[in-house]
Symmetry: C2
Subunit: 167 residues, 2 copies
């Protein structure tokens, strides 16, 4: 397989994966492009490589900055801004986990805690409701703690421990 094909295929596949991770397609493609680039790229470079408009590029670059998975780089003596990706897979995964915990898990936990306060009138309906909510809340809280620990963990330690865990 030639480099150009391989690059194309990876960007495509990364787009799909990113999509199912809460990014959008273009966002994930820009990210893929920066992942494999040997040097920081400008908005112009990205527009050209992915064939997208200035507005689109700008918007998605900002979204990636907002997720803290790419960085702004300024080259001394140049006006233009450049961008580069966080290249360390482990750091990247932890950052994504962090953002998703904040964006998805925390909101549902808040709701679960709040609806758990429902008035019990002794009916079967409210009893079942309480039970379901309690179970989900329990699971969500444990997951939340696990993710929090993951965010702070160090790679070698993590995989070693997991390896032992599932021996």
């Amino acid at each position: 397989m030639k480099y150009k094909e391989a690059k194309e295929e990876l960007i495509q596949a990364w787009g799909n994966l990113g999509y199912s991770w809460g990014l959008n397609k273009t966002m994930a493609q820009i990210h893929a492009l920066l992942m494999i680039s040997t040097k920081p790229l400008s908005t112009e470079d990205i527009m050209e490589d992915l064939n997208i408009s200035r507005g689109n590029a700008n918007m998605n670059i900002r979204a990636l900055l907002d997720w803290h998975i790419i960085y702004r780089i300024s080259v001394p003596g140049e006006r233009k801004e450049y961008f580069k990706s966080e290249k360390d897979t482990w750091t990247l995964a932890r950052q994504v986990a962090k953002e998703r915990r904040k964006r998805e898990l925390e909101p549902i936990l808040k709701v679960l805690r709040s609806v758990n306060e429902v008035q019990t009138d002794g009916s079967e309906e409210t009893k079942e409701f309480k039970k379901v909510v309690r179970d989900l809340k329990n699971f969500a809280e444990k997951s939340d703690n696990l993710l929090e620990a993951f965010e702070k963990s160090e790679e070698n330690w993590f995989w070693n421990t997991v390896l032992k865990m599932f021996k």
Copy 2:
């Protein structure tokens, strides 16, 4: 808070969560409804409770069946089909993990393995590409193994081990 409000709020929140888990809003809402229901519900019941059309209800019920997180129930002596949710949170989580591994992780792994075969021409570009792909592949494979083990694990054992792990 009254039961009706709480139910409404949970269904809404579950819809959002489900969405970010690769289900769509209606699919997740039907699921939430079945989670808190004390008895199996028919298509008719679901249409009525969520105010959605027959086609929509049917389509999303089938998608949930396809994910294996709800079940078809037949009541002896009745023509109508009823549906009930898998209520055990642990089983549910494992099932979702299983489906997502199949639908998301496996495809990207396949691509990573394939683009890893790219011809190296000694240029910096292809060297960097290889390095990135190797790292991602390594991470994805480890995650894949972890998820596979999770799918087969038993709840108490899992949380105990994790607890020890992050002591």
